[in-house]
């Protein structure tokens, strides 16, 4: 792949701990933007951004509609709205029907980001109890991006990583530690 320009991550059940581990392994000067959909039971309220900002000591925010994507920032999809990436690499929100019973849906973020970034995208799918994200990850691969799935042997809930592996062959199947190191290495790639 060419030099990556962004990372998208999807997770569901068990996702908070998994994300803390992966994101905690990223160095302070990490340059790539990271866009995250984490399913939560409560649609309306979320303080994910605050929780992760406190724990990770790095800039984290809830993604806003029409916001330009900034390097080094972690963006969480807010509750109740789908998050997409537009062609000009800005963010947009929408209220279309739930996808895989979820809003925000991982597939929607992954598929729109694949359209916007093509081969410069890294997609990561972690632990989870439904099949959201599998189609989106396959789309990232189709568009020339790099795909990473958490090793089901390690995942707290295996449905999500297994569904992804069933649909396409990811570039990497790794433990959370391995994913953290891989992302840190990819970020260091020269332009």
């Amino acid at each position: 792949m060419s030099r990556p320009a962004a990372i998208v991550i999807g997770a569901s059940a068990g996702g908070v701990e998994a994300l803390l581990k992966v994101l905690g392994a990223l160095p302070g000067d990490f340059r790539l933007p990271v866009l995250i959909v984490l399913h939560l039971p409560d649609e309306r309220h979320s303080d994910l951004a605050e929780v992760f900002a406190r724990r990770l000591q790095r800039p984290v925010k809830e993604a806003q509609d029409k916001e330009s994507i900034a390097g080094g920032m972690l963006y969480f999809a807010g509750p109740g709205y789908h998050l997409s990436v537009e062609q000009d690499r800005s963010l947009s929100l929408s209220l279309e029907d739930r996808v895989n019973f979820s809003r925000p849906a991982i597939d929607i973020l992954f598929e729109s980001a694949a359209d916007a970034y093509g081969p410069a995208l890294i997609g990561v799918l972690l632990t989870g109890a439904n099949e959201d994200g599998a189609k989106g990850l396959a789309r990232i691969k189709d568009c020339g991006g790099l795909t990473v799935v958490q090793d089901p042997a390690e995942a707290r809930v295996t449905v999500m990583p297994r569904a992804a592996i069933k649909l396409h062959t990811p570039d990497y199947i790794l433990t959370l530690n391995g994913i953290g190191h891989l992302l840190a290495d990819l970020d260091k790639r020269p332009c």
Binding site: Q64, Y81, S84, E86, S94, L95, E96, I108
Partner: protein
């Protein structure tokens, strides 16, 4: 990737064709969402390609009306985000009461849930009798449903909790008659409501207003079209008039950031400065 690129071209051509033939302008809608909706329409209409859909739509107005249902998103609920309505009662109503008569514009009213919610709030605050509400949308099918004011009982049960959390003063059931699994809303709520076809993309301002509610419409527009809409709102609102947006919508990234003050930032209530 090349296949992907061809589809993007076809989508642009379809949107252009819709504009040229039917004057519905989706050219400055946010691309990711419109692309998903066209793919959905493609699937539902069993067209083999976007070009095939374009051909059908160009030659068959009923096929266009069908496509329009997919392109507009009728997702709405009554008293959605109850805290917004609480904030309207708390921060906006006392100021609205100082006007001898009121004009309210609900832009992008979809199937009308927002219209009845606001009408109920205004009635409870003693304002509905001296208010004219303009409820506008681009989708005639949605407008017709809004005019009828009939919603499924199943949904209305969910709205009841919203109504209570929104500071409702009565019993929600006072506002509708239940029949055959539906709730038919009290027609006196819409006595002063004018439902009208109006496009934020192509039409201009039609009246001076004191309050504009435009919720979960602007997220589907790109920045350019958002700015056009904000321009219309700015022009329509009276001095110090109120603008209410959806819970994830903001003036912040627009060219009108400095033309409005935030009255209740969390609840997205702004005031023309």
């Amino acid at each position: 990737m090349t296949e992907e690129r061809s589809t993007d071209i076809e989508i642009r051509l379809l949107i252009e064709a819709v504009y040229l033939k039917y004057s519905y302008d989706f050219r400055d809608y946010a691309g990711a969402s419109i692309k998903r909706r066209i793919h959905h329409a493609l699937h539902q209409t069993e067209c083999v390609s976007v070009s095939a859909l374009q051909e059908r739509v160009l030659h068959d107005p009923t096929a266009f009306m069908q496509l329009l249902q997919y392109l507009t998103i009728p997702v709405s609920e009554m008293f959605r985000d109850p805290e917004h309505y609480l904030a309207i009662r708390r921060d906006v109503v006392p100021l609205l009461k100082t006007y001898p008569s009121l004009k309210v514009w609900i832009a992008g009213c979809s199937t009308g849930e927002e219209v009845y919610s606001l009408a109920i709030l205004l009635r409870e605050e003693g304002l509905l009798d001296r208010t004219i509400i303009y409820a506008t949308d681009i989708n005639p099918g949605s407008l017709e449903r809004a005019r009828q004011g009939i919603y499924t009982m199943e949904n209305v049960r969910a709205y009841t909790g919203n109504y209570q959390r929104a500071g409702g003063l009565c019993s929600f059931a006072d506002y509708y008659t239940a029949a055959y699994g539906n709730a038919i809303f009290d027609s006196s709520l819409r006595e002063n409501v004018t439902f009208a076809d109006h496009s934020l993309a192509t039409d201009s301002v039609f009246s001076e207003t004191q309050l504009i509610s435009c919720r979960n419409v602007l997220i589907y527009f790109n920045k350019k079209l958002q700015d056009r809409a904000f321009g219309l709102f700015h022009e329509s609102l009276c001095h110090r008039g109120f603008l209410v947006l959806g819970s994830k919508e903001t003036l912040e990234f627009s060219g009108y950031a400095h033309s409005f003050d935030a009255l209740a930032r969390r609840e997205r209530i702004y005031r023309k400065s």
